[in-house]
Homo-oligomer: 196 residues x 2
């Protein structure tokens, strides 16, 4: 690895945020998953959970495309909701779903500086009842227009950039947050990846 | 118009924000334009400017699609940058472009509570030098990942929802901001539109 490349990868790893993740529950369209991954990389998210209980596991996410962000993320795939949540509970303090319930709070009222997992559901049916029951609360992206639904990639981008804003204000990007072993592991792995 | 529909349309009109707009300069892909319009509607933006100096004027933006937001917006089309800016200067106090210059500020440092126009450029070449020279400043969406470009629909959604956050905190959605005549004109026009 050239010193320049090592420095570039290290700069990105220094900003990675292991205390936030997105869970995509039965999200069907691989383009939506790719778009979410791209935004995840952009705000420094490292881990993403793909939970497919109702649709077959995805084989890839355009992973061979030159613009794919998947290879720079750690993708956790589950087909069992309980197993997925057991792992989420080990890593994150709160789990919120995007769901329009009577007690849902607006995105901007969430505290996204604590360790959180944010669940986005299927394009048509949304987050399942099972997952809503297991989570700690629901949030919505406020909308005041005529058309009442945002594409999942847009909803997720708006959410992740609100997390970026809060975390940046709280100094989360000023300190290295990846643990040493994990940091070294990812740097070694990334050394073999091609950048476009 | 039924009373219910009148009330629904009035509720949306009450939240419309005539003091913010997006200018799409030579944005090529109609899907990107449609996606931007959808987010614009969602945050209560009413006016959108389409400035095509290097590509032919767009004939439509999927306007016949059932999910099109175009019909709920006031679309201002220009082929001349000076004419476009003359109109923008009448309506908005500041014009900012998305452009990575040395003096660009981060999105979250912009004051989006004053009347602003936000310019997004062509998918490949970005905002033109001509427009950058005419604007009041440049901003960027902060990115800390490996891949350094966000899709325009994502970049615009993140920007418009930051505007929503700031404007909502400042009480902009609590008072009716459309002028009486314009309010009535839009309500009459909307009465003839089909909702999906």
């Amino acid at each position: 690895m050239t010193p320049e490349r090592n420095e570039r990868l290290t700069t990105v790893l220094n900003k990675r945020q292991p205390d936030i993740t997105v869970v995509l529950e039965n999200v069907f369209d691989p383009h939506n998953i790719s778009a979410v991954m791209r935004t995840a990389d952009a705000v420094g998210m490292q881990d993403i959970f793909i939970l497919n209980t109702k649709i077959p596991p995805h084989k890839k996410w355009g992973a061979k495309s030159s613009s794919s962000a998947a290879k720079w993320l750690t993708v956790h795939q589950y087909t069992d909701a309980n197993e997925c949540f057991a792992e989420l509970r080990k890593r994150y303090k709160k789990i919120y779903t995007t769901h329009l319930s009577s007690d849902a709070v607006g995105l901007h009222e969430l505290n996204l500086t604590e360790p959180v997992a944010l669940v986005f559901g299927n394009e048509h049916s949304g987050v399942s009842e099972e997952i809503i029951a297991m989570a700690d609360g629901n949030f919505i992206i406020p909308q005041v227009g005529i058309i009442k639904s945002l594409n999942i990639s847009v909803a997720c981008a708006v959410t992740l950039y609100e997390a970026y804003r809060q975390k940046n204000s709280a100094g989360h990007y000023d300190a290295i947050k990846l643990q040493g072993e994990r940091f070294e592991g990812l740097r070694n792995e990334w050394g073999f990846l091609e950048e476009e």
